[in-house]
Symmetry: C2
Subunit: 484 residues, 2 copies
Amino acid sequence: MTDTPGTHRTEPAHPTGNDLHLDLPATGGRRAALMAALREAIRSGRLAPGTRLPPYRSLAADLGLARNTAAEAYAELVAEGWLTARQGSGTTVAERAESAPPARSRRPSARPGPVHDLRQGQPDAASFPRGAWLAAARRALTAAPNEAFGPGDPQGRRELRTVLADYLARARGVRTDPDRIVICSGFAHGLRLLFGGTTAVLPPAETGPLAVESYGLAFHRGLLAAAGVATVPLPLDENGAQVGELPQHRDVRTVLLTPAHQFPTGGPLHAGRRAAVVDWARGRGGLVLEDDYDGEFRYDRQPVGAVQGLDPERVVYLGTVSKSLSPALRLGWMVLPDHLVDRVLAAKGQREGWASALDQLTLAEFIDSGGYDRHVRRMRRRYRDRRDQLVGALAAAAPHIEVSGIAAGLHAVLRLEPGTERPVLAAAAQRGLALDGLADYRHPGIGADAMPITDGLVVGYATPPEHAYPAALAALCAALPPPG
Amino acid sequence: MTDTPGTHRTEPAHPTGNDLHLDLPATGGRRAALMAALREAIRSGRLAPGTRLPPYRSLAADLGLARNTAAEAYAELVAEGWLTARQGSGTTVAERAESAPPARSRRPSARPGPVHDLRQGQPDAASFPRGAWLAAARRALTAAPNEAFGPGDPQGRRELRTVLADYLARARGVRTDPDRIVICSGFAHGLRLLFGGTTAVLPPAETGPLAVESYGLAFHRGLLAAAGVATVPLPLDENGAQVGELPQHRDVRTVLLTPAHQFPTGGPLHAGRRAAVVDWARGRGGLVLEDDYDGEFRYDRQPVGAVQGLDPERVVYLGTVSKSLSPALRLGWMVLPDHLVDRVLAAKGQREGWASALDQLTLAEFIDSGGYDRHVRRMRRRYRDRRDQLVGALAAAAPHIEVSGIAAGLHAVLRLEPGTERPVLAAAAQRGLALDGLADYRHPGIGADAMPITDGLVVGYATPPEHAYPAALAALCAALPPPG
């Protein structure tokens, strides 16, 4: 060990550079490495608070560093608060720099998923069109103007809004222009823009309660409750939501519906009711919120067009790519009545929930080049085949189980005998099969008389990758109760 | 005009297929085209409510369509509510289907930008590394597991969190592990997770007021006010925020700081104050929120490391790619004390503000492959050159103007004589030059005695593309007042 020619021999001894046991790489960023090693020595407690460090010249000599390197490292660590430099007493470890060791994480690295997954709500993640998407990204990012990489517009990229106005007209019967479309990060974001926070477009205190279908996603009910929105459930029958009951709720001015494919029971809203709800909104000065979550997927005839087309000034249309392409993109859109556009943009001025401009440009190119249509057609065939396999498997293994909601979408509903939903779900879980019971979707405010089905299963047939689907179906059939 | 062999001759006459003046393409999706043409005829009023349509067989014959095509189009339009089919009276335009014509948009297509743009806050959008980003996207999306295209994890992609933990340790002195990082869509999103809504991690009613620097972004103050958070301004001096005043505010437990580079005045927080604020947080049971918005950009020596490294359990570290890469990505991160992780994840369970998983994977690959470091180095050189040009131009044209905050970041502050800020901004605007005055950044709660500078300009030198920068500087120099 070399003795260090320090300048403060009368002060308590300080460790030499070698005593510090600093582990430095032979080449590369030596200053950064020295800083990291010193920080680590302080964190670990090897260099206790108050410890005097060797003068930088000694340290440099001991470690074979340039003097500048050591001097700069000390200066940086002083600036960062790890070390203290006092005129006449050299450099010491700062008194307060001791701290608790970093807490170990208690979070499991990843929860194991179920063996079989028939939960609804997800497209087959294995089918994401990686190659076509990347090709569209290359074309879009190469052609984009520089301002596309700037802070952007709360309304979303014009390229995407222009393409969407055309696509939604063609595929969904939506009537709009690009200026009435606002890009958002999904349905939940749309709900928050409409109802949440101090910038809400439809503040709950002014707008009153929201009518909803008596079956729906608990997650959405939770978002609404969190925003302070009271919900009034509309009973369902075989023609969809009983919108004729709306006038009885005199404080209701807004209704949230899934007209193309009631979620989760599965039927379209009857034509007469589509007209009636728009008429109600006109007469009431109210709004219809149209959640068109999987409108592209209808198997036995053309998709039912959007209610929005009946009156663009009375319907807020909400759509996303979460079912048609991937929920990983966090990309959706609102088609707004003219009088709401500026208010939604003001709410979106908070800069949150702006979807990635790069994904927006890529989606615009993907739609415009026909890639999106091709993908939807391919997935429609695939999901139709899966639906047919489901129906076939049930007909063979459990012909006593009634299946409904199979004309469209990514899920079906299996009717169970009253009182058997929970035991069937338990039997499924025992087989490693994840799926939901209908109870989770029921609005807590409806009575048993308003339930078209008391017990049932919601089977998402899009979720598993292709190779895993037959085994999932077999597990489902095995978990179903025998004929009563 | 051919006569149509209708089946209801005793009813009022209906138009023939040719009378409808439907414009159909000769080939392609004939049913969709017929539906679109009928919808348009109804919307435009050419087919009034109650109008009887020709029977589908006649229509098909008149238009040269297959009968099925016409029958299906009618059925679809009935399902959509445009038409009504009544047994014995044929198909009529629905009574309620008339609606207001779509409102014309009143929004201007795009506001023209300023001629010269020296507003702070944006990196040079023209410098986005398109090629390197696309290459990283290709590698990342090709290698990604299928579940990457599924619904995802509120915490964000593990690939990105793992790479960030390493990068932030190396480049910013942050001490963390991937399990304590939460990906978000930017600083505003981080603030909302912490303070906003019913899921707030630090509900304002419990947490009390938030201490902030007396100069900062008005947009952030607005976000906090909207979330119901009262703010207490800390005066600034040449050593940064006077955190020694924190104990005087006995209801304050949380402080928001920009320690690496005070925004916008430009200096780093003094080492002693870095230590002091962490000590205060420990003693108070409080938190330091560290907004590390441009920590990568320091020009004359190494960047000052994050305060977070001094005590990861008392500091919430917030960063984004908005300055280093592009705000268009809407991508940021929070490095959290262990005890806050689960609460932030619960708030993020609302599924909003989840950044695109595809961008997350691409950024992970971009950092891991060294592309991010290369880009930051390139931009550091470029912005340093611009800063030098700014300083040089001012020294030549306006040597009486004091410049500060030039050691780091993407902007500088020019001191003006008291009372001259507004006239100088007006002179700049007349030259087509956009930039901000210091007044916009001042907390409304501070008195004149706590203002280190009363009048000044905030000059963002990163914003313009390279070719436009010299002209912007010339416009700035021309707008500055002559020596007093």
